[in-house]
Symmetry: C2
């Protein structure tokens, strides 16, 4: 059984969840709604002075949970792999600048090579950026992605694969972001979460729902309660595994993005308190 | 290494692959193209006299590989579960009538209950129809479906789960249909296929490709060579596991359905000979 969620103290919202808002609007409205946790997607930092962004975050008392996202390490093209390293090093700087203690890694895949090869390149990539992450005090969270993204977004598609990768790298700076959307279908999920926690690798927990039917590969996620995922059960597993961090609401939804975002934020709070 | 495909003797095409054609047009054109194997989707049998269909299949020397599809056992509604049993019993009669030695089962899932519960109902459903299948001489092939279909189409999403189900039921009339589209991403696929063969449960092998990007959840499958699946490698695993049956081309594709189907059939033959 999951514990009841009593308040918003562990609620974090991803800026991409309210995609129509810029970073300033996110911060102002999340804060006014009583939401303290924020995961910042890098698109809202483009052309922004990060010192100003950091000051704004502090002024509103926001706690930055993560920066999203780094990764996309694999490529059949060496030059592109090097560009990915550079981009991840930039992400580490950005994370440090805005006070994010962690970066979520969407690890990547290249359809032109095997998944095994892509996983080798993911491990190489993480090891390459690890010293910079450690010096900056920024953790790296491997996010296993749903198998429907194996073609082009991630060659790490189950929590077992993420566990194996994190245990192979074996650094206190590298762990896992577990997202119900990607993992809910896995018959081994509870055991995988337990294993993740027992290695101190459970760094982040993302929630949303799987719509039935789902009509878009990227932007048709549901709000908790909209779909078929038993979010409270998975949260209970995460908590049993020792996780005490934020519950991060990460929803990509053309449907919700087309609605008034302030009303939507209220819906998120309601779904968080009653369906998460 | 996979063996080279030398000829069309093990090529089977699913009627839904050439969806614009009725059963008569499929049979006439497959036969003219030198394709002997056919898997018949039930939609092309609607309002047809099955005695006439069987005679036509025989006249053209076609070998029916499977009838697609039965299954969809789970429901939160008992009445719907009973309707599913009736529909599967009808499918067994249809299979026997057209000379299909096997029915492919898309096992089903109900988003209103857990995947575990749906799997229990799948096992119950298969056990309910098994005596009728056995008397009719029709085998039942459990097809594990990609995890992206776990919400509404199948609670059996990996070859391991299919193996477990088939081994639990433990009947020579129940086995597995392995489709590269659903299974390619699984890091345990080779071992799962080996296990399947060693229990004499590998009943069918379906091929197509995973397009990158994929734009539709159902009808954007690729022709072998279009996408990122290493079909020859998976075929080699299937053959190492002892499979000697047809390679069934099952492609749902709005793109290909919009083209001339005779030219498309030639493309299928080419892709079969060179990319499978």
């Amino acid at each position: 059984m999951s514990s009841k969620i009593e308040d918003l103290s562990r609620l974090c919202v991803h800026t991409l969840t309210t995609k129509p808002w810029d970073i300033g609007t996110c911060v102002k409205n999340y804060s006014a709604a009583g939401i303290k946790g924020i995961t910042i997607w890098r698109n809202v930092l483009e052309d922004r002075n990060l010192v100003d962004v950091k000051k704004m975050l502090d002024d509103f008392g926001m706690e930055v949970v993560s920066l999203a996202r780094g990764g996309f390490f694999p490529s059949i093209d060496l030059r592109r792999r090097e560009m990915a390293i550079d981009d991840n090093l930039l992400a580490i700087e950005q994370a440090a600048s805005v006070g994010a203690p962690m970066i979520v890694l969407v690890c990547g895949a290249d359809a032109g090579q095997s998944l095994e090869k892509s996983r080798e390149q993911i491990a190489e990539g993480i090891l390459r950026i690890l010293p910079a992450a450690q010096s900056a005090g920024v953790k790296l969270a491997i996010e296993p992605l749903h198998p429907m993204y194996a073609g082009d977004r991630s060659a790490i598609n189950t929590i077992r694969q993420a566990n194996e990768m994190a245990e192979l790298i074996h650094s206190e700076w590298v762990g896992i972001a577990a997202d119900v959307y990607h993992l809910w279908w896995d018959p081994d999920l509870q055991a995988g979460i337990q294993r993740c926690g027992s290695h101190n690798n459970l760094f982040a927990f993302h929630v949303c729902d799987w719509n039935v039917p789902t009509i878009d590969f990227l932007n048709d996620r549901g709000l908790m309660g909209d779909g078929c995922i038993n979010v409270p059960e998975i949260r209970s597993w995460v908590e049993e595994a020792g996780f005490k961090g934020y519950n991060e609401v990460e929803i990509f939804s053309d449907k919700y993005w087309a609605t008034d975002q302030k009303s939507y934020l209220e819906k998120i709070k309601q779904a968080y308190l009653t369906k998460t």
